[in-house]
């Protein structure tokens, strides 16, 4: 589903990604862990075609980036720290707008289905500007899966959420991941990542330095694995 080989990204003289290799298959939930400045967000921006790779090969759903970026974008959903929603439009109007931009057929039914999925059907006529951060983030996930993408990227989806909102988001993330998509999530929240992901990659100094499956943690935990990876 996602295949990245020898990816290099430079901003001027600074090299952020240094020959990164990565892959994620359909049905896999990969937690991408790493300290601030490791290059996680840059990596997700390249996967979502918002930034061009300097060197290396990036393929998503069989299409190459940056040459076939429109085809990749049609098969990808993205949730970032910002909800990418318009506060002066209602929840329904926001989803209707994005449904038009993605060419969703039978828009009204799909929007109603998504609002129901994220638990906002009763607030569909309310302005997004009046929503709490948690509600906005749930709607942002709805926006990201509106066109039924084959892969979803989450960039720190829990940023700024309180405990209740985070738990509600857990449920939405699980239901999104359970539909056989490839999911890549960056997070600093190891507890949450451990409860959701099936694989854990540690990205630091521009490369993935360690990778483990959930089943590998029988006699240890994610925190130990993460600390060892960073110390190596």
């Amino acid at each position: 589903m996602i295949e990245v080989k020898k990816l290099v990204k430079r901003f001027g003289l600074k090299t952020v990604l240094k020959g990164l290799d990565f892959s994620a298959q359909a049905g896999e939930f990969v937690a991408l862990l790493g300290p601030n400045g490791a290059g996680k967000t840059t990596f997700l921006r390249i996967l979502s075609s918002l930034s061009r790779p300097t060197l290396g090969s990036v393929r998503v759903a069989g299409y190459s980036l940056p040459d076939e970026s429109a085809k990749v974008r049609a098969r990808l959903g993205v949730v970032s720290h910002q909800p990418l929603l318009y506060p002066d439009l209602t929840a329904e109007e926001n989803l209707q707008f994005y449904a038009r931009m993605y060419g969703v057929v039978n828009r009204a039914a799909r929007v109603a289905e998504i609002l129901d999925m994220v638990g906002l059907e009763k607030r569909r006529r309310d302005l997004v500007g009046a929503f709490s951060r948690g509600m906005q983030q749930r709607l942002a996930i709805g926006r990201a899966v509106l066109h039924d993408p084959e892969a979803i990227l989450f960039d720190e989806p829990y940023t700024g959420l309180d405990q209740d909102a985070s738990e509600m988001l857990d449920g939405v993330l699980r239901s999104v991941a359970a539909q056989g998509r490839a999911v890549v999530m960056t997070s600093h929240d190891l507890v949450r990542a451990e409860s959701l992901a099936t694989r854990f990659d540690v990205l630091t100094r521009g490369a993935i330095v360690a990778s483990a499956l959930r089943d590998d943690f029988q006699n240890s935990n994610l925190m130990d694995f993460y600390k060892k990876a960073l110390a190596a």
Partner: protein
């Protein structure tokens, strides 16, 4: 679940429609542009102490200066709103040709500018007793000039929105580039008010049309590179 990639036209229309719906609700942009335009007209009135004779010769200049300044306010805000709320990424993630963003934004900016012109023009006519601004030819020049100004303004506002000094940068970039469209617009509309024969306003009119075509085409070709990181 079925999807079919939207055409450039339908994506541009969706963006314009979204902008109009949001503005209809908040009325932030239109009210700022309108108040600003009215203040400029009043300031010109007091500063120049226009008598009947002078009014005829400066009407086109006063009007275009007013519309250019008010239009800059709208242009600055339209792209800045997308950038500040992170929504530009939402637009860039859509599986459409990115020039659809340019056309959608240009359409909504043009609608805002034409709306301001539609309100300011009768007010100007009333205050200055100048009814020739309602001539069909004058309105045609107004539309052509607005298209050219908005085309180049939308392109440059996408550029300046990515900088910290965008409020200052847009007018600095825009006014020199828009000089040909403003000069041609003032010349053509001034000629119509003065009652000159059509042959005499043909040159600025042609210049306006050529400018519009060039800037829409150039924006279509380079917008993708401007918004890309």
């Amino acid at each position: 679940m079925k999807t079919s990639a939207p055409s450039l036209f339908s994506a541009a229309l969706a963006i314009a429609r979204k902008d109009l719906a949001a503005e209809f609700r908040s009325r932030e942009l239109i009210s700022a542009m309108l108040v600003f335009a009215m203040l400029v007209i009043l300031i010109f009135n007091f500063a120049l102490e226009l008598d009947v004779g002078v009014r005829q010769s400066v009407t086109a200049g006063v009007l275009w200066t007013t519309f250019a300044f008010a239009g800059t306010l709208g242009l600055n805000r339209s792209m800045a709103v997308e950038k500040d709320r992170g929504c530009m990424d939402g637009l860039l993630l859509a599986p459409v040709d990115r020039s659809a963003i340019f056309f959608g934004k240009a359409l909504s900016n043009l609608a805002f500018m034409l709306l301001v012109e539609a309100i300011v023009l009768p007010l100007y006519a009333l205050l200055y007793n100048e009814t020739r601004v309602f001539k069909l030819e004058f309105l045609g020049v107004l539309a052509l000039g607005s298209i050219g100004y908005i085309a180049v303004g939308t392109l440059l506002s996408a550029m300046s929105a990515q900088t910290r000094t965008r409020d200052v940068l847009l007018p600095i970039l825009l006014f020199p580039v828009a000089v040909p469209v403003l000069l041609a617009s003032v010349k053509a509309s001034g000629g119509i008010i003065a009652g000159l024969p059509f042959e005499e306003i043909l040159v600025p009119l042609n210049l306006l049309i050529v400018y519009d075509v060039i800037f829409v085409a150039v924006s279509f070709m380079i917008f993708d590179f401007i918004v890309e990181e």
